[in-house]
């Protein structure tokens, strides 16, 4: 049977019962559409988490204090709570480790800030002039802390846009104004550009002061809470991580690496962890959607079996006038595949639309990838084959004499 004739036969067969064909296709449409939408939400989440991790810097290696442990004490406080990293550690890293581009130690604490009767509680990061480069921070107005301010313990501050909005009002002029941090007066010399984000880790809700100033006037000690290091390139990150670990173990006089009182994390580690979480999330969503696709496939099989029964006499006639098993098989299989393929096509459109609506109304980033679209087509055609196979086989194996007599 020529391909065009086959298509014509399929067209006549499917249009003979439009509502039934439509409803069957709908099952596949919903299945494919939800798979596309769910995967796009998952991939969107993955993308946005990754880009927010990328936004904290590039080729970043972060050293944090470990959990506080007493001698022989099994109870440990939370990681990062210990005061084990010092300015001297940061200096040693800078001096002794190769393939480091920049290093920015920081001391971050939360303090109450007041300005003109407004007050807010936010994190104060004491750091060095290298920080903006290491952590990908751009200054919008004014300038960041410079080396001279570091050396002279200047009481200057660079504030995030959220802090400015909280203290001075939305978008107000804040440059040159004074704020009181923990009772100490600081002058605002710069405002960072908004990075976006919200919740616990809002990169815009922060105040930067010189590290020296923070240590002397705010914390009163020489500890640092984080040392951010920018490696020269991506390939040197692992070696930098390893060198820092060896150096700090030696400096802290710890022989067992498992007992280290600090942690060294690379950006790649963080991305990897986040990716594991989001891909699990994506798989979960996709498998829930996959179930509806399976149900759609069963709908196809159900309809095809009904069709074969209804058209038994027609099948008998076709066989009597010379159709071979193969012809009948192909015709019914192609009918099923046409239904699922049609459903796949509309489903991709629906999935796309759903993904768009989700990002429009729910504000969740989505991304429909070509791979998921092609996969959807493949899967829908495969569903046609799988669920159309049995009905088509049944049709092709009908005995023409009995089929012609079928009432």
């Amino acid at each position: 049977m020529a391909i065009f004739d086959l298509l014509e036969e399929i067209y006549f067969a499917l249009s003979a019962n439009k509502i039934r064909s439509f409803l069957t296709v709908l099952g596949i449409v919903i299945g494919i559409g939800s798979v596309i939408a769910m995967v796009s939400i998952g991939q969107g989440a993955q993308g946005s988490i990754q880009s927010s991790i990328q936004s904290i810097g590039s080729n970043l290696v972060i050293v944090t204090p470990g959990a506080q442990r007493g001698v022989g004490v099994q109870v440990s406080a939370g990681r990062g709570s210990a005061q084990t990293l010092t300015q001297a550690d940061a200096d040693a890293i800078q001096k002794e480790i190769s393939s480091i581009k920049q290093i920015a130690p920081e001391l971050t604490r939360r303090y109450q800030i007041t300005a003109k009767g407004q007050n807010t509680n936010t994190s104060i990061t004491g750091t060095t002039p290298a920080y903006p480069e290491v952590r990908n921070i751009a200054v919008g107005e004014g300038s960041f802390i410079d080396a001279q301010q570091m050396a002279s313990y200047s009481k200057v501050a660079v504030i995030g846009p959220t802090v400015r909005d909280d203290l001075f009002g939305q978008g107000a002029e804040a440059l040159g104004q004074s704020i009181k941090i923990n009772g100490v007066i600081f002058k605002i010399v710069g405002i960072t550009q908004a990075k976006g984000g919200s919740g616990f880790n809002n990169p815009d809700d922060i105040v930067y002061v010189p590290l020296t100033t923070a240590q002397r006037f705010l914390a009163g000690d020489a500890y640092v809470t984080t040392i951010s290091i920018e490696a020269q390139d991506q390939s040197s990150m692992a070696s930098v991580q390893q060198q820092i670990t060896i150096l700090l173990l030696e400096r802290h006089k710890i022989s067992d690496p498992a007992a280290a009182d600090f942690g060294v994390l690379t950006q790649a580690d963080i991305v990897a962890t986040a990716s594991t979480v989001t891909s699990t999330f994506t798989i979960l969503l996709a498998s829930i959607a996959g179930i509806s696709l399976l149900v759609g496939g069963i709908g196809i099989m159900n309809m095809m079996l009904t069709t074969v029964t209804e058209r038994t006499r027609e099948i008998g006639l076709r066989k009597a006038i010379g159709a071979k098993k193969r012809d009948i098989n192909l015709q019914f299989l192609m009918e099923a595949i046409t239904l699922t393929f049609l459903g796949g096509m509309i489903g991709v459109g629906l999935g796309w639309l759903l993904a768009y609506l989700v990002s429009l109304f729910a504000g969740i980033a989505t991304s429909v990838s070509w791979s998921s679209v092609f996969l959807a087509f493949g899967v829908s055609a495969a569903i046609g084959v799988v669920f159309g196979y049995y009905p088509a086989r049944r049709a092709s194996q009908l005995n023409p004499i009995e089929a012609l007599r079928y009432e």
């Binding site: 008998g316 076709r318 009597a320 010379g322 098993k325």
Partner: protein, 226 residues
């Protein structure tokens, strides 16, 4: 030419055996108009299925144009039906919701004939059966019984078969329409077509030139009328 020699057909159930045809032999020459007549259960339907290459005999030989059909596989039988046999059924067996033309050219779809050619041949055959041209593009279920049977006859003619097998073609028609259909068969026979008519009605059988009487699976009488 059809040559049936010593054909038997045995149906087997789990524990019941039924011999539907017992050593049947006959010969039908090209251009004959033969009625195979017998009451129900006489084996005439079984004989028709074998003649129509829908089924194979348990033993014996069936030569159709010199080819032994009894030994063929399912697909080879399908080819025989496609190329050499035209069926006309009691219940017409047209595709509903399909146009008259499409019904008629359907067998050619399986022969791979181009659409223009199919339509042309279908129109030619429809004219031969006497269906008015205004009906060619109607849907088959909008036609009367007599018209439907004409469409079925045109479909049987479409591949210029060696044999037209008509199974009770007037069974669902009133006498007047039935006579018109039989008249059509007569005309086709005059034009050279070989026709085998299966019926249980003597009045219908009398339209043929020869009647093979069959009873209990055997030939009772081979009667030449004209």
């Amino acid at each position: 030419m059809i040559e049936i020699s010593d054909i038997t057909k045995l149906y087997k159930n789990e524990n019941v055996e039924f011999l539907a045809l017992k050593n049947v032999s006959f010969k039908i020459n090209d251009g004959e108009f033969v009625a195979i007549m017998g009451p129900s259960g006489s084996g005439k339907s079984t004989l028709m299925h074998i003649l129509g290459a829908l089924d194979t005999p348990t033993s014996g030989r069936y030569l159709l144009d010199g080819q032994d059909v009894a030994l063929l596989t399912e697909d080879e039988l399908a080819d025989i039906r496609k190329n050499k046999i035209g069926f006309v059924f009691q219940s017409f067996n047209l595709l509903p919701r399909a146009s008259v033309i499409r019904n008629v050219y359907l067998p050619l779809v399986y022969s791979g004939v181009s659409k223009e050619e199919r339509v042309r041949i279908a129109e030619e055959k429809l004219s031969a059966t006497g269906l008015p041209e205004t009906h060619f593009h109607h849907l088959s279920n909008q036609l009367s019984g007599g018209q439907m049977q004409r469409v079925a006859i045109a479909r049987a003619l479409i591949n210029n078969p060696s044999l037209i097998l008509a199974d009770e073609p007037t069974g669902n028609l009133d006498t007047k329409t039935g006579d018109l259909i039989l008249e059509t068969f007569k005309k086709l026979n005059d034009a050279g077509h070989t026709i085998v008519l299966i019926t249980h009605e003597p009045e219908v059988a009398r339209h043929a030139k020869r009647i093979i009487h069959i009873r209990d699976g055997s030939i009772l009488k081979d009667e030449i009328l004209r």
